[in-house]
Symmetry: C2
Subunit: 66 residues, 2 copies
């Protein structure tokens, strides 16, 4: 189910100034990020189709977060 590894999530957290994170902390953030990504990507598909394309481009992502 999860696509992001906990070590990836941990690296992003360290970038944000997190010194230490528990496993459940990383899992919580991972779950949020994946939901957010799926939500944006689902909207982006609609915009790509609206433009007559099958390929999602950066412009679709931009519209998806408008």
């Amino acid at each position: 189910m999860a696509e992001l590894t906990l070590s990836t999530v941990g690296r992003v957290m360290r970038k944000a100034g997190v010194g230490r994170a528990s496993t459940d902390g990383k899992e919580g953030l991972r779950s949020l990020l994946e939901s957010h990504a799926v939500e944006i990507a689902s909207r982006a598909v609609v915009f790509a189709e609206h433009a007559g394309r099958k390929t999602v481009k950066a412009e679709d992502i931009s519209l998806a977060i408008m």
Copy 2:
């Protein structure tokens, strides 16, 4: 700079029903996700410190998205 690989972002997009995505589409979503993660994690650190901890836990992530 980027912590998430484009192939990871691509997998998450496929999960959301994206058939094809251009490289700039994946890069756009990656950039968004990383910014979002850094924003949440930065707030979570504050909540962990507020609770007298150095370790970020799931409860801090929950507060960070309240």
